[in-house]
Each structure stands twice: as C-alpha cells, then as structure tokens.
C-alpha cells in the first residue's frame, strides 16, 4: 500500500517536473550564451581609431568597443550613467565635477586605469599639435586656453586628487559639460607614446573588446576582453565588415553572414512588413532632423512670410509615407521626439497650400518666384527635392533642383552663397546642443548657415545652457523652439527613424536614438543555431 503510494507520488513528481521543464524551456532559450563570432557592417572604413582623432559615426562605433568612456549615455533614457567613473558629483556653483574611478579597470596591456590617465587623455585632446576635432568639448575647462596657447604645461582646472579620484573645473557654468564625458574614451599614456601615430591603427584601450587586426577597406577584428570590469563580453569575437553598397549588405544579411544591418528607405518595408522578420526589426526615432535650410539674408527668403509659406506648401506627411516609405516621422520643429524637450503640444506647420498662397501674396509674391533647391548628389536627396519641387509648384514657386557633391553644398551654404540646402542635423541628447545652429554666435560653418538671428532665442538658449535643472532647461528649450518654428529658418521636414533588423538568434541589440550604430556590444549575445 505504502510502496504503491510512493510510486504514485514519484510518477506525479516526475510529471510535475516534466511540466515545469516544459514551462522553463522558453526561458532557458533566452538565457545569455557565451561565445560566437559577431559580424556587423560599416558603410566605409573608419580611417582612424585614435579617440583624439576621428569623430565619424563609423569610427565611434568601433572605438566604443575598444575604449571605456568616463561616463556613459543610457540609450533608452538618454541619461548619463556610470562608465569608467562609478560615481560623480557636481559642485554647488555648477562648475566643478568630481569623478571617482572604478578600481580594477584594466587596459588591454594589463595595467590598471587610474585618474592620471583621464587627465592625460584630456590634455592630449587639448594639445595643439594633435589637432583634435574634439578640442571644443574641453577648451572651457579652467586653464585649458593657457594650455592650448602653450602658456602652461598642464591644464590648471584638472586636479588628480588621488589614484582614483579626479576633479575637473569648468571656467563657465555649462549644463552640457557633463555630457562631454560620455565621449571621453580613456587612453593609456605608455601605449600612445610607444605606438605614436600608429596608435590610431592599433588602438589599445580598456573596453570590452581587444583590437586584433584591421584589413583596410575590408574588416576590423576584435576579441573579447577577458578581464573587462563588467565581465567578459558574451560574444568571443566582434568583426566589423566594410560593405559600402547597401544592396551587397542586404545580400550578406540574407545569407546569414551579417548578424544585423541597418535598413534604409528602400528596404525598410521589405523587413518591417514581413511577418518572418518583423519580430527582429528594432526601430527608434533618431536624434536627427532633416530639413531644408533657408538663407535668411537672401531675397525672397529674408521675409519670414515666404519661409512660412514654404512650410505650409509641402505635404510632408505624404512625402514621408511615399518617398520615405514611412521610415521617418513628420517634423513639427527642430527638436525630435526622442529628446526630453520635445513638445507634444507644438503643432508646427500643417499642409495648407491656400495659406501658403496668401502668405506669398502678403509678402509681395502673388505669382511666386524661382527658387534653387540645393542638395547633395545622393539619389535619396534627389527624390526629396523632386517632392519639394512638385509641391512648391502648386503655390507658384518654381523650384530648380541643384544637386552637387555634399562638400561643395556644405561649403557654399556656409558662405551664404546658395538660398537653400538639404541637410540632416543631429545635435545629441541635450536640447541646448541640439538648438546650437539657431544661435547667432554660430553663423556660417559652425552650424547657423541660415544666418538666423533672434535675440530672444539667443537669450533663452544661453539661459538653458546655464541651467542644471532639467525641468527648467526643457521649458527654456521649448520656448526657444516655439520662436524658431514661428521664424521658420528651416523647412522642418522629418525626424529620421533609425531601423535595424537582426538575425533571429541575436539578442541584446537596442534602439539607440543618438545613433543606431552605437550598440553596446558587450551585452549582445548569439543563440547557437541548432
């Protein structure tokens, strides 16, 4: 009797265990697995991987895996979070930041990272002979100007307090200053000095991956860093393949030789609408605003009513749906939805050709006028310009499309030689930086190619820059944006939707609004295929 009961109980337990296992199985399938060779694409060779040198998206996509930044930007919240520094404080006068480094961060040569390395990294960027494009990020640190002018041998505002603590004092109150440390990739002095110029070709950092090899215009190979402070990355090798042609990249992805790829307007629908791929499509509204810039000093664009009329004349919603295949969000102003200062209440300009005609008549152009529509030679831009031309014709503006080399267009726009230009503006996660092109101090090549000047906008952005309260800063940026939209120095076209598609066995990729290519690869893993 007793043995029968035990037998029944055992069977029941076994059934229960099997049921539990069946339930658990999907969960274990999602448990990160170590190992594997991850392959991703870059559209062209990153050229140089020295953190003090290249600031292209491609180079940073690689560098962020080789180096540790002092702070990190959380791609989901766009808030700063610990990086090499595990903690930081801001002084009561909002000028001094004190960082505390993690203990035990190892460079790939085995040496521990210390506060002196951070000081060296910043001073290296500020060294005039290095001609770093990042110099602006740090040239307002106290004593930086003297250092750049070679009147000082070190930057007075950087104090190493002890082996792991460092204090940096800014000469002005600037709320965007902490953000700059999310781009500060820390380098080991001895390796920089040993390798010289070659450091950009054989970089040594402390990041989750160690540089292995670089076959120019072909591929860059990294391997996982066994002693990484966050633990060894899950994938054992990370390969960046240089694939300039998007159609080839698609073939590589379709044949399983790429683990993810970015989607463009032409292939977005193919994956996003396919039930097989849809679960593996990651989308995010990127921090980029596509626009047609107006030269506000050139007739007839010097009249705000003309600029407003153009904003009313173009049906951007239809253009986004058709020409851009829905891979964008129609713009209402310069600030995109992913930024905290985005104003849901802002209405922008609706498609209203009648209103456009009225505004043109009020401005003295009842019969319209001729307008050159400039853009780069890319076929994508060509399609946009054709759309603009078609809608502008409806209100009497005779658009003439001028496509040219991107550099030529940028140069001519900077010198105010052309009336319009098509650009994508990206200003990062802070609204003050994002609105930089509308400040009158940035006329020309620094960003304000429109030669737009509104004293109230300048004052609002200046105040936002000095404000450390996020809530107050958002208010100020929104007010500045409202005025900018009313002044219409741009035709606000759309915010790019960045999209990637990954293989079904890839896990951990995130939608990063700053740049989709900036993926925290040490958290990505590959489920082995059965």
């Amino acid at each position: 009797m007793k043995s029968s009961f035990i037998r029944h109980l055992s069977i029941l337990a076994l059934v229960g265990l099997l049921a539990a296992l069946a339930y658990i199985q999907p969960v274990t399938a999602q448990t990160p697995v170590a190992g594997g060779h991850f392959r991703r694409a870059l559209s062209s060779d990153p050229a140089n991987l020295d953190p003090a040198q290249t600031n292209t998206v491609r180079a940073i996509s690689v560098k962020m895996n080789i180096f540790d930044s002092l702070l990190r930007l959380n791609p989901r919240t766009l808030e700063l979070e610990p990086g090499a520094a595990e903690a930081w404080t801001v002084s009561s006068d909002n000028k001094t930041m004190t960082f505390r480094l993690r203990r035990g961060i190892r460079f790939h040569n085995g040496r521990e990272m210390v506060a002196e390395d951070v000081k060296y990294t910043i001073e290296r960027i500020l060294t005039p002979e290095n001609a770093s494009p990042f110099i602006r990020s740090y040239d307002r640190i106290a004593g930086a100007q003297e250092f750049v002018a070679k009147r000082a041998t070190s930057v007075g505002g950087i104090h190493v307090l002890d082996r792991y603590r460092l204090q940096i004092t800014n000469s002005v109150v600037d709320s965007t200053f902490p953000l700059t440390f999310s781009d500060l990739f820390i380098v080991p002095r001895e390796e920089v000095e040993r390798l010289g110029r070659e450091f950009g070709q054989r970089p040594v950092g402390s990041g989750p991956f160690v540089f292995v090899s670089w076959s120019r215009d072909d591929s860059i190979l990294l391997r996982s860093h066994a002693n990484y402070w966050e633990g060894r990355p899950l994938v054992s090798a990370l390969e960046f393949r240089i694939i300039p042609d998007p159609a080839t990249a698609q073939a590589e992805f379709d044949t399983g030789r790429l683990d993810f790829m970015l989607l463009g307007d032409t292939n977005y629908r193919r994956y996003a609408d396919d039930p097989k791929w849809k679960p593996y499509v990651v989308e995010v509204s990127e921090l980029f605003t596509r626009h047609l810039g107006f030269n506000t000093t050139m007739k007839p664009l010097d009249d705000v009513r003309v600029r407003q009329a153009i904003n009313h004349a173009i049906d951007k919603a239809t253009m986004v749906r058709t020409i851009l295949q829905g891979k964008a969000i129609t713009a209402v102003g310069p600030l995109p939805p992913s930024i905290n200062a985005f104003s849901p209440a802002l209405r922008g300009y609706d498609y209203n050709p009648q209103r456009a005609r009225e505004l043109l008549a009020q401005a003295g152009y009842p019969n319209g006028f001729e307008l050159e529509l400039h853009g780069s030679s890319s076929p994508v831009i060509g399609r946009w310009l054709e759309g603009f031309q078609r809608y502008l014709a409806d209100v009497g503006i005779r658009g003439k499309i001028v496509q040219q080399d991107f550099g030529v267009m940028l140069d001519r726009a900077g010198k105010a030689e052309i009336p319009t230009w098509t650009l994508s503006h990206g200003g990062g996660p802070n609204c003050v930086n994002y609105l930089g092109p509308f400040r009158s101090r940035n006329f020309g090549a620094p960003g304000n190619r429109m030669r737009y000047k509104n004293d109230r906008v300048d004052a609002l952005i200046d105040e936002a820059e000095r404000t450390f309260s996020t809530q107050r800063q958002v208010q100020l940026c929104r007010e500045a944006e409202r005025l900018i939209v009313a002044d219409a120095p741009w035709f606000f076209f759309n915010y790019n939707k960045a999209v990637l598609v990954h293989q079904p066995n890839v896990h951990g990729l995130v939608g990063n609004p700053v740049e989709m290519d900036y993926q925290p690869m040490h958290k990505v893993w590959i489920q082995p295929r059965r």
Binding site: V57, Q201, S215, D218, P244, T248, G427, A445, P446
Partner: protein, 313 residues
C-alpha cells in the same frame, strides 16, 4: 647602350614631365573644387564645425601655406619618396596604396585572364565562321557584354550565385576561391566583349592574307595556321587594347570594388576625393600614372616580340 635600352631610358625620362603634369592638374582641381577638407573631416553628419579645431587642423596639415608653396612642398617630399600623410587616416599615403596593390592586382589579373580567354576564343571562332550562327551569337554576346553596367551584372551575380544558390559568398576579400570569382567575372565581362570584337575584325583581316593561303596550300594543320600564323599577326591591335585596358583595371575598378566590398586602389581614390584628402588623392593619381606609363612601355616592347620587323632606335 643598345637600341632597346635607349628606348626604355628615353621613355622613363619622359615620364617625369607626365608625373609633374598629373600631380599639378590634380592639385589645381582639388583646390578649385569647392569643399573644405577640414570641414568634411570634422563632421560628416552633424555638419557643425568648431573654428578652433579647424584652425589647428589647418595648421597641422599645412593648409595655411599659399597653394604654390603647398605644391612645391609636395613635390620636394615626393622626390624623396615621401607622398605625405593622409588627412583622413593620419597614416602614410605610400603605405596605404602599397597595401591595396595586391587586391587590385589580383582582381585586374583575374578579370583580364577571363576577358582574354573568352574574348580571344570567341573572336577567333567568329572570324573563322564569319556570317554563321556562331558569329551572330558572338556579336550578340559582345553587345550584351559591352552594354551591361558593371554594378548591375555584379548585383545579378550576387543575387543568383550567393543569395539564391548559396554557392559563393556575396562579397568580401579573401582567397581567390571563392571570393575572386564574381568580381572577376563582373569586371572581365565587358572587357571580353571588346576583345572578342577586336579579335574578330583583326583575324578577318589576317586570314585573307597571302601567307595564310600559302600556309593552307602547304597543307599545315588548321590549328597551327590559326595560332601560329593568323593569331600572332592579329595580336598587335589586341595587345594594344589589352594593355590600355589593363592599365585601367590596375588603376582600380571602383564600381566592381564597391559592389563586392573589394579593398582596391579605386575605392581608396574615390573615398579620398570625397573628403578632399589631397595627399591620398595625389598619391593614387601618381600610382595610376605610373601604371599607365609602365603598361604602355610594356605594350610597345611587346610589339618587337610579336613582329620582328619592329625595331627600337
């Protein structure tokens, strides 16, 4: 010094003004074309430029010097074998070009081999069977080969052989098998069509000559007549065209390199022009000029081997 060595020495000496000419033209063109290299290097997407950084970068690259001084400095360094440092990569221009030569040479060699094998055999057969179905077929294939754009043929091959049949990898640089097959076919197809048409017309001219009739009358085998007597005499125009085409292939086949992600000199040159990387563009142009000069010299020298009547004095 014998005639041939004098000829070579004279031709190499003539290369000096050619080098000066091409570098000067490149230099002037790169300066005339709008587009600031500093601005293009600094921000490709955000399109904002920091004036302080721009000033320092300008000083580092010597862009503050007047243009003639910049050119003279370039020439002086080039004479010492120093082609300078690339603005874009911050590394030696010479080294960057030398690194890409093997990829370019492999692709050019393979494409030329395919083009000669297909082109010459198709041209010979078409000439020997003039006005037959084979001749018409060769004309049709040659027309298709010449008309089909490289990028389109490349993408078709990728779609068929890589995506559908999974026989070959879509792109990449590696061992000749499997990586070189599709790029070489893509690049060789158009050239084979040119060679086929040229071989046909040249052969048609030669096989009507008296010495071919004599060879036939002597009872020589058809194969011997075609290869030894007809083809060798028909080869001079073919060699000239092949030489010029090979120079072009060695200068980089930008479109094929782009479609198949092949790391050749062509992509390097185009990438450097886009960002106005003057030292790299100058270096690539010098390399291309050298290739053209040497190939033309090789073609001229081959005439003597093909036709003993040719003498160098």
């Amino acid at each position: 010094m014998s005639g041939i060595w004098k000829f070579i020495a004279r031709r190499l000496l003539l290369a000096v003004p050619v080098f000066i000419g091409v570098t000067l033209v490149t230099f002037v063109l790169m300066h005339i074309v709008p587009g600031d290299p500093v601005a293009l290097q600094m921000e490709e997407k955000m399109a904002t430029i920091d004036p302080t950084a721009a000033r320092l970068i300008r000083a580092k690259w010597g862009l503050d010097d007047p243009a003639p001084i910049q050119y003279v400095k370039f020439l002086r360094n080039a004479l010492r074998g120093d082609l300078g440092i690339s603005y874009r990569t911050d590394r030696s221009v010479l080294r960057s070009i030398v690194e890409r030569v093997p990829a370019t040479a492999k692709l050019a060699g393979a494409a030329l081999l395919i083009a000669i094998c297909i082109g010459v055999s198709m041209g010979v057969v078409a000439a020997l069977r003039q006005n037959s179905a084979l001749d018409s077929l060769s004309i049709m294939l040659a027309t298709i080969g010449v008309s089909m754009p490289n990028f389109w043929l490349g993408l078709l091959l990728i779609y068929l052989l890589a995506v559908n049949l999974r026989w070959l990898p879509p792109s990449g640089y590696g061992p000749a098998y499997p990586y070189l097959i599709m790029p070489a076919i893509t690049l060789g197809a158009g050239l084979s069509a040119v060679i086929a048409r040229l071989t046909r017309s040249s052969m048609l001219e030669v096989i009507r000559q008296d010495y071919i009739r004599t060879a036939k009358a002597k009872g020589l085998a058809q194969r011997r007549i075609v290869i030894r007597h007809a083809l060798r005499n028909a080869a001079i125009p073919i060699v000239t065209v092949v030489g010029v085409q090979l120079s072009g292939l060695l200068s980089g086949a930008v479109i094929t390199e782009r479609v198949f992600s092949w790391p050749g000199v062509g992509r390097l040159l185009v990438d450097s022009i886009v960002v106005r990387d003057l030292p790299m563009a100058q270096g690539c142009v010098l390399f291309i000029a050298t290739v053209f000069i040497l190939m033309n010299l090789a073609v001229d020298l081959s005439y003597a081997w093909l036709d003993p009547r040719v003498k160098y004095e």
